[in-house]
Amino acid sequence: MDKFTTLTGIAAPMALVNIDTDMIIPKQFLKTIKRSGLGKNLFDEMRYNQDGSEKPDFVLNQPAYRQSEIIVAGDNFGCGSSREHAPWALLDFGIRCVISTSFADIFYSNCFKNGILPIVMPQDVVDVLMEDARKGANARMTVDLENQTVTTSDGQSFGFELDPFRKHCLMNGLDDIGLTMEKAASIDSYEARVSGQRPWI
C-alpha cells in the first residue's frame, strides 16, 4: 500500500448526496479477480452513455477535472454495497482523498486499506471546499495528513479528526495483516480459552 503524507491536487466537486458504491463501480465490473484496472469504469453509468461515449457534463469528463486526485462529495458518500472495488476504482483513476460530511462505515474502512484518505468535515467546511473545488484546475487543494489539515487554493485551512491508528498505518503504508500476525500469541490464547467455555463455536 502506498504511503499517504501530503497531497496537493485538483478537487472534483460532486455535491450529490448518497453517492452509493453501485454508482462508484456498477456490478458488471465486479467480475474481475484482480484489484487493478477499474479506473476506466469509475462512475461508469454517470460518466458514459450506453454506446460508450463520454457524457460531457459529468465532472470527471470536463477538461479541468480529468486529473482530479480529490473528490469533495455530498453527505453519506460510499453507502450501499461493501464492494472494495469502489476504493480500487477510485485509486486506479487517481483519487487519493475524498471529503464529505459523512461516509458509510464499510466504505470508510475500505479506503484505509487502499491508501485513500476519507476526511469528514462539518457541512459549513464542506460548503467552502465545494466552492473551492468548483474553481477548476487552477485551484489546487492541499491535504496534509501529518498535521490533519485541508487548505484551499486561497489559503483557508481547516483541521480534521482521524483515528490515530488509522493515521499511523496510512502514513507508513502498513499492512494490517502483518501487524495482526504479531499478535498471534493473543489469538492462540483467546482460542484456547473459548474452546473450553463455548466448545460449540
Binding site: K113, T180, Y190, R198
Partner: protein, 473 residues
C-alpha cells in the same frame, strides 16, 4: 458488580482478543462466510504471502451472486466467461484452502445469508462476517454480524480476527402489534424512512419491542438484513424461544450436552435493565402501513396510499437528489403511487427469499393470473427453500399464475447474472436496494414486501395488498 450492558456490549466484550491503548480492538470472528465476488483477491493475497486460512473449519463458501438461476446451470458454459472464471476460482480456493463449500450442484447451495442460518452455522452470540453488506441478516439470531471489504476478508482468512473500533448503541423499538397486511419488510423500510440512509452510521442497532418479538425468525432476518440500508453496520435482535426452536437440530448446531451448555449461555444474551443506548428510535407497530419506495435511495419510503413527492418537499442536498431520482424513475410529483404501472416483479433475495416470504406471496397469488404482459420471477433463497416450496405446493401456485420459478441465487437483486432489467423497465422488487442501475442499467426499482409484490404482479400496478386481502375474505 458490572455496569448494565447492551446485547451488543456483551457480544463485543466476549470477542476482544486484544485492546490497544487508543481503544482499537482485535475482535475474534466465529464464522466467516465467503462468496465468489468479493473473495478472489483475498485468496490471491494469501497465496502471494504464503499464508494459510487460520480456521478453515469456521469458514463457509458458496457461489451465489453470479450464478444463473435457470435449469442446466451446473454446466459452466451457461455462464459468461468472467462469471465462470469467478465461480471456478471459488471452487479452487475452497478446495485448496480446505474450507466448507456448497457448489451449485448441492441442494444446500443458495444465497450466503440464507444458507448460513439454514445450516446452523449462524448461532446466537457469535461474530459473523462476510464480504457482503447484507451480512447484517444474521443479527436476527443475536449474533454480531456485518459486512466487510475484501482486504478485511483476507485479514479474517489469515488471522480469524478483525481490527475494529466499537460502534455506538442504537435502540430501535417497535411497540405494539402490526396490522394485517403489514410485514417485517414494512418495519425495516419504515425505520429507514424515518432515520434516513445515514441515520445508523456509526451505530449497531438493537431492534426490540413487541412487534419484533412477534415476528418469526424469517421476519427478523428481513428486518436485520436492511440495517445496512439505514447506515448501521449491524442490526441485532436478542435471542428467545423462537430463536432456539429455529436453531435446534440444524446440521451445524450443537447437539446433546453441548446444546444444553449453549442454551444456558444464549439465555444470557439480552440487554441489561438500565443499559445505555446512545440513541433511541421508537415507532408504533400500529402506525406502520404497507410501504413502497418511490426513488433511488432506500430512504425514499412512503405508505402505498401516498403520492409521489416533489423535490421541493425536501431540504438541503436532498433537493437535488430527489429531482435526480424523479427523473431517473420517470415519475411526476403528485401522482398516486397506486397509479404507477409495473413491468416486472422480482420475488427473492437475502431480504425476502425465505419460505415464509414465498408463502406470503403465494397466499395472494393462489388461483389467480398475473397481469397480461407482466414478467414475474420467483427466485428461492436456497435449494432447500426451493424444495420446501415445491413440497408445499407454492411453486405450482407461482407457475399457474404465470410466473417463472427459478433456482437459488442472488439473481435480479443485483443483476450480476443474466437476470436483469432493461433500460426504463419498472420492477416491483422484494430486494433491498433501489439504487440507479442496481437491477440493470436504466432499470427502475420499487422496493416492497413479498405480499405487495405479488399484488402488483396481479394488477400490473403498485397495489395496496390490504384491498386484495379484503377481496379474498
Amino acid at each position: 458488580m458490572t455496569a448494565p450492558r447492551t446485547l451488543y456490549d456483551k457480544i463485543w466484550d466476549e470477542h476482544v482478543v486484544h485492546q490497544a491503548e487508543d481503544g482499537t480492538c482485535l475482535l475474534y470472528i466465529d464464522r466467516h462466510l465467503v462468496h465468489e465476488v468479493t473473495s478472489p483477491q483475498a485468496f490471491e493475497g494469501l497465496r502471494m504471502t504464503g499464508r494459510p486460512v487460520r480456521a478453515p473449519e469456521k469458514t463457509i463458501a458458496v457461489p451465489d451472486h453470479n450464478v444463473p438461476t435457470t435449469p442446466g446451470r451446473e454446466n459452466p458454459d451457461q455462464m459468461p466467461e468472467e462469471s465462470r472464471i469467478q465461480v471456478a476460482a471459488l471452487d479452487k480456493n475452497a478446495r485448496d484452502f480446505g474450507i466448507h463449500y456448497y457448489p451449485v450442484t448441492d441442494i444446500r447451495q443458495g444465497i450466503v445469508h440464507i444458507v448460513g442460518p439454514e445450516q446452523g452455522w449462524t448461532l446466537p452470540g457469535m461474530t459473523v462476517v462476510c464480504g457482503d453488506s447484507h451480512t447484517a441478516t444474521h443479527g436476527a439470531f443475536g449474533a454480531l454480524a456485518h459486512g466487510i471489504g475484501t482486504s478485511e476478508v483476507e485479514h479474517v482468512l489469515a488471522t480469524q480476527t478483525l481490527i475494529q473500533q466499537k460502534s455506538k448503541n442504537l435502540k430501535v423499538e417497535i411497540t405494539g402489534s402490526l396490522r394485517p397486511g403489514v410485514t417485517a419488510k414494512d418495519i425495516t423500510l419504515s425505520v429507514i424512512g424515518a432515520t434516513g440512509t445515514a441515520g445508523g452510521t456509526g451505530y449497531v442497532i438493537e431492534y426490540c419491542g413487541q412487534a419484533i418479538r412477534e415476528l418469526s425468525m424469517e421476519g427478523r432476518m428481513t428486518v436485520c438484513n436492511m440495517a445496512i440500508e439505514g447506515g448501521a453496520r449491524a442490526g441485532l435482535i436478542a435471542p428467545d424461544e423462537k430463536t432456539f426452536a429455529y436453531v435446534m437440530g440444524r446440521p451445524h448446531a450443537p447437539k446433546g450436552a453441548a446444546w444444553e451448555a449453549a442454551l444456558a449461555y444464549w439465555k444470557t444474551l439480552y440487554t441489561d435493565e438500565g443499559a445505555h443506548f446512545d440513541k433511541v428510535i421508537t415507532l408504533k407497530g400500529e402506525d406502520i402501513a404497507p410501504v413502497v419506495t418511490w426513488g433511488t435511495s432506500p430512504e425514499d419510503v412512503l405508505p402505498i396510499t401516498g403520492s409521489v413527492p416533489a423535490a421541493s418537499d425536501f431540504a438541503g442536498g436532498k433537493v437535488g437528489a430527489a429531482q435526480r431520482s424523479l427523473d431517473y424513475m420517470g415519475l411526476t410529483p403528485g401522482m398516486k403511487l397506486t397509479d404507477i404501472k409495473i413491468d416486472t416483479v422480482f420475488i427473492g433475495s437475502c431480504t425476502n427469499g425465505r419460505i415464509e416470504d414465498l408463502r406470503a406471496a403465494a397466499a395472494i397469488l393462489k388461483g389467480k393470473k398475473i397481469a397480461p404482459g407482466m414478467r414475474a420471477m420467483v427466485v428461492p433463497g436456497s435449494g432447500l427453500v426451493r424444495a420446501q416450496a415445491e413440497e408445499e405446493g407454492l411453486a405450482q401456485i407461482f407457475l399457474d399464475a404465470g410466473m417463472e420459478w427459478r433456482l437459488a441465487g442472488c439473481s435480479m437483486c443485483l443483476a450480476m447474472n443474466p437476470d436483469q432489467l432493461a433500460p426504463g423497465e419498472r420492477c416491483a422488487a422484494t430486494s433491498n436496494r433501489n439504487f440507479e442501475g442496481r437491477q440493470g442499467r436504466g432499470g427502475r426499482t420499487h422496493l416492497m414486501s413479498p405480499a405487495m409484490a405479488a399484488a402488483a404482479a396481479l394488477t400490473g400496478y403498485l397495489t395496496d395488498v390490504r384491498e386484495m386481502m379484503a377481496e379474498t375474505v
